[in-house]
């Protein structure tokens, strides 16, 4: 059984079919990349999995259970974390506080306990902070730990967002263009971190990415999309040499003298 399965999923906005009968399955423990030109429906698929959108047809299941009856808030509880293409952080809070919000799905204290800050809440806080501290160490965010998000450079924000998703201790992480806007060195770091996420933390990774070098380096399988339809699925090499994919990116082939 696959961890995440999309089955004939269709979503249209008005007359535009953003996602058109898309089916794929992501196995536990793999790194799965979605590629395609702008407007192919990659981010829309992420929003479908996070339940921000509801498909008109088809089914999405996680761990063998359909998630279409769940609200967006309930997706985190399943162990699905995500980042956003345009970095959605809590601006007026520190890096540490942002990461601690990622621990929300692990909260066990009740309101009255929070108000009295009982010893139980203190123990819980300790548990959350140890988990968050691990993420900070992993992503080397120590220099920014106490800084407010609103003053941080773009690259750091991206790291914080990834950290917030990791603080959730998810089973599946959805990374929406993790390397966009990053320098070559930062992109290389991302590649290592994705490797570690899978190998050390046992997290399944689904990512949308335009940087083909990164995709080739880290992903086990790639799915190419264009105009909301699946063009090809396979290893990075297979997909990159697929004539339909080349056509989608470069236009129909012409006789070259």
């Amino acid at each position: 059984m696959s961890l995440l399965e999309l089955d004939d999923v269709t979503l249209s906005f008005g007359g535009v079919k953003a996602v058109d009968r898309v089916s794929f399955a992501v196995e536990e423990g793999e790194v799965f990349a979605l590629v395609g030109p702008n407007g192919a429906g990659k981010s829309t698929i992420f929003n479908l999995i996070s339940r921000f959108y509801t498909p008109q047809e088809g089914d999405i299941s996680f761990d063998g259970r359909s998630i279409l009856d769940l609200a967006p808030e309930d997706i985190a509880d399943l162990g699905i974390a995500r980042t956003f293409q345009n970095v959605e952080l809590f601006e007026q809070a520190t890096v540490l506080q942002n990461l601690l919000v990622g621990r929300h799905r692990h909260r066990r204290s009740r309101l009255w306990q929070d108000i009295l800050f009982t010893p139980f809440v203190r123990r819980e806080e300790l548990r959350h902070r140890i988990a968050v501290e691990k993420v900070i160490e992993f992503l080397e965010l120590e220099p920014y730990r106490e800084k407010y998000i609103q003053g941080l450079p773009y690259g750091v924000r991206k790291m914080v967002e990834m950290g917030r998703a990791l603080a959730m201790e998810p089973r599946l992480i959805l990374l929406d263009e993790p390397a966009s806007g990053l320098s070559v060195e930062e992109t290389r770091d991302i590649a290592f971190w994705i490797e570690d996420m899978r190998k050390l933390m046992g997290i399944t990774v689904v990512m949308v990415e335009h940087d083909m070098n990164l995709v080739r380096d880290v992903s086990d399988r790639v799915l190419a999309l264009a105009d909301g339809r699946v063009l090809a699925v396979g290893t990075p090499r297979e997909v990159q040499t697929d004539p339909r994919v080349i056509e989608a990116y470069l236009g129909p082939g012409e006789e070259v003298a």
Binding site: S50, E88, F90, Q92, Q113, I115, E133, R164
Partner: protein
Amino acid sequence: MRIVFKTSHDADIRLWKHGMQLSWYLLLLALAAALPLLLDDFMLGEATNVLVWAIAGMGLMLLVGHAGQASLGHAAWLALGAYANTLLQTKAGMPFLLSLPLAAVISGLVAALVTLPIMRLHGIYLAIATLALSVLTEDIIILAEPWTGGVSGLFAPDIEIFGVNFNRYANPHGLYWLVLAITVLVTLGYANLLRAPTGRAFVAVRDSEVSARAMGVHVARTKTLAFALSAAVTAIAGALMGHMAGVFNNETFNIVISIYLLMMIVIGGLGAIHGAFLGALVIGFLPQAIALLRSALAGALGVGSITIPGLETAVFGAILAAFLLFEPRGIYGRWIVIRTWFELFPFYRRDMFRRQRSYLKTERMR
């Protein structure tokens, strides 16, 4: 600049950042407790008033400053607190120690119910809905005459705890200490909330609903909770106001009070508990300052007295406008800038607290 070396997670969890800060707060508390010995009865009454306003301010701060939801109708919860507390004492014969928390609980529950239909509103629409709530409350008070006494109002009995009377004039010291104790309790509860998951959920909803959802924060539930807690705290202040006024009617808690409340926390500084207290100080002592200024001006000009109707409101309005224009972070925000300047002297940079340009936002999925 003080550099705190953190050697355990407790350094992040506890309420104070370093020992020095704790000493300052304890000193402030000691000063506040010693105030009855330093002030005359009139000024002590004003100080009590400031504390009550600070409680109300904390109630609204929780909603506006931390959960990021607007409210122009918080006088409604002051009113509900005052009426519920008084009626529980006079009609149900409850002691103050029981009626006060119960009035807060009632207001919280009513707020949660009322919030359900207006939950999906944002920004200006939410502000209008809460404004309507405030107007409605005045009408309901008049309509529910058998209970509320309508226009002629309701008499609040003296606060009595285990036979000790806390009348405003007979026992001003006692009343002040009682209000101070309630203020400290509310402040501690508020500060605890902010360092616990619930407070972080509020901030998450304030800053980005989309990613709060993705983190598993139930946005609607969190907003309802924020409204309920905010109303409950505000109701405590309302109940105390009722006791201090002695008699109140439908006009005691009108829209102007709602607007004063909101002004207070904006001037004090949104998003920090300190802001509620600083704002309360301004609101509490401004009428005195204006009166002093007025008599000084009259003396200087050689006229008997100057009476300008609406002067106070105009001055309040001017101060609010000035803050919004020149220091949107409020007094507390300005204080942080000044403190940082001294801490880093001479390395303070002008743009240190300037807002960064905001990056593109994900199109809101509402």
